[in-house]
Every structure is written in structure tokens, then in C-alpha cells.
Symmetry: C2
Subunit: 190 residues, 2 copies
Amino acid sequence: MARAGLTTESVISEAARLIDERGLDGLSLAAVAEKLGVRVPSLYKHVDGLPALRRGVTVTAKKSLSEALGNAALGRSRDDALTAISLAYRAWARAHPGLYPMAMLAPHPDEAADIAVSTALVDVVFRVLAGYGLEGDDAVDATRFLRASLHGFVSLETGGGFALPVDLDRSYQRLTTSVITALNTWTASP
Amino acid sequence: MARAGLTTESVISEAARLIDERGLDGLSLAAVAEKLGVRVPSLYKHVDGLPALRRGVTVTAKKSLSEALGNAALGRSRDDALTAISLAYRAWARAHPGLYPMAMLAPHPDEAADIAVSTALVDVVFRVLAGYGLEGDDAVDATRFLRASLHGFVSLETGGGFALPVDLDRSYQRLTTSVITALNTWTASP
DNA sequence: AGTCTTAGCTATTGACGTTAGCCTGAAAGC
DNA sequence: GCTTTCAGGCTAACGTCAATAGCTAAGACT
């Protein structure tokens, strides 16, 4: 048999491509195997079953998003950094509509890599907010507010939740500026 | 055979219970049939397959959430109404962690009932914002901002996305007041 | 009682994930 | 350059699940 030259990485990246094309439920070992020109059981030489494959994809997705945000924030601070991060966040999600929901999943407790990359992802946001002098619980609340707003918009958008034919770019921009305004006067704790 | 006395409604509500218990992927015709003490093919007398069952559950979920929000807003207006809606929104989601994501899905284009109940859901929010004198695109942007923030928080929370052991109630309250503050000074369009 | 409708059943098929075990060709060692 | 190893592919088989076809008996109606 001519070897197909699979690797764990190639299987995972093919799976990721499939998820972005056909959605989360479009991922099956059968589909991956067919795309790679291989029989289904062969995949088990590189990946430990479907759930493990999903976890692998999740990790690479989180890593990719995390890098995108990190790059966007590079060399900027405060409002500038937040604006850049917001744009990068939405852009990544639109480029990866299938992967995006997986990137928001809580890390699998047994998967060290997942935990690591998940905390790295939150840290990008957290460190930008440090530029506002926020500390402790204030910083946590603010991070949650920012994450919630961005995630909520992007999640509803990629899920088709915004029905009206009104400019989404503008809505997102107003959301971003509103959040930034709020964060600039955040420290009045209840 | 003793009749089990199934109806479309009983099948759907059993499915809904299963989804809240075991998550979205925990729904299978096999599981529903077993819970109802019936063989799988019997379900087809009441429900047109698994996808149709899911759509049925989605509709009832949206209806339930919509009613909860409507009740919360009843007899209140502006900041009062928004606060009440926010609390009701999160409470509903926490009570129905499995159903909640389905309630956020875009309505199925062929399912008239789904479209109706989806628009009803958005309308609750939309009408409260009318109390702020917002109109046209401003109102749309504001609705999206509100929906995004609430949904984002609740979605991350029920998905386990907030790892830190810091009071979620307080974070949510600060989010709510921040959003309300923003909406009170919304009309400065770019 | 006799008839009709229909809610439930069994049987079957097809898709998929998973495991066990074989086989071969490519790289490693002499 | 020949042998040996071994891992990356394979076929075969099984279990689970969704779905369809067709049977049967429970219950409603006259």
C-alpha cells in the first residue's frame, strides 16, 4: 500500500477545515478519511477517536485565535489595543465560523494543552486591561464584560442570530466604543 | 400492547428534559424512547425524525424564554425593565443550560412557528428599548448591543468559560449597569 | 358486535465509530 | 546490499443509532 503520509497534525488540520466548511456536526471520521484518501480505521494510528480529534482541533483553534489577538495588541495599549483586539476577534471568528464555538468551550480538565492555551487566550485580554490600572476583582469583572460583549456579538452574528439587514460592521463598532467607554470609567465598584 | 399514550407534546417535553440533563448531544431518539418506555420507531408516529424533534424543542424553548422575559418586563419601563429582563434572562439560561443554546439559534427558514417565536423574542427587547426613544438603526444597534452582552455572559457562564472563582452575580450586575448606562446616552451616532 | 383507524410493535437497512488483527513497504542496522 | 524491524496502512467484524416498511391489536364509533 502506498503510504498516505498522514500525521496527527494533518488529520487535525483536515478536521478543522471540515468543521469550518460544514459546521461542527459536519465532522466525522468518515468525512476526514475520505478527504485524506484513506480508510477510517487508519485514522486511529494518528488520533485516538472522534472525541480526541475534536479536542485536538479545539486546542489548535484556541491557539490560532490567541495568536491573532496577541498580534493585534502588539505595540498598542489601552483604547488602541482594545479596538485592535475587537476587530481581530471578529475577523477571526468570521474566518472560522465552525471553529469559533469550539474556541469558546471550557478547557477539558484532562487536557493540559487545552488548559494552557485557554488561559493564554484570556490572558491576552487580561493584560490589555491591566493598562487601565484595573486590579483584582475589578479587572476580573471588566475582563468578563469585554469577553461577554465581543463573544455575544460574534456568536450571534456567525450563528445567524441577527436577522435585520442593518450594517453589522457599524453595530459592532458602536458596541466596541461603548465597551471601551465603560472600561475607562470602570473603577466605581458597587 | 398497552398504549403508552404519547403525544407530540410529551415527546418534545421529554426531549427538552433530556437536553437540559445531558446536554445537546445527549439527545437521541433512543434515549427519548427509553425514558418514555417505548420502542424507537414508535416515536415516528408523533415526531418526524430527530431533526424535526430538535426543531420542536427549539420552538418551545424560545417560547418559554420569551414568556419569561415578557413577564419580567411587565409593568416596568426603561432602566427598571432592563434590569428585570437581564435578571430573568440569566435565570432562565441557568435553569435550562441545555436548551439555552438552542434558543439562540437562527430560526429554521421552513419552520413558520420558529420564525414567529424568534421575532417575538427579539421584540421583547426591542420594545423596551423603544422606551428610550431610540428609533431606526440606532434602535437596532442598541438591541444588538444588549443582546450581545447578555448572551455573551450567559453563554460563557453556562459553558464553563469563566474559570476564576470570582462572584459571577456581581460581574453580571456590573455588566448590566454598564450596558444600561451606555444605552442612556446612546443617540450619539457616528 | 363489527368495523375502522392508528399507536405501538418487529424486522431490516445503512451510516458511523471502534476494536482486533493482518500485511507490506520503508527506513534502520549489519 | 541484504535483512530485519516496525509502523502505517488495510479488511473484517461488531455495536449503536436513525430511519423505513409493514404487521397487529387497542380503542373509538356506529
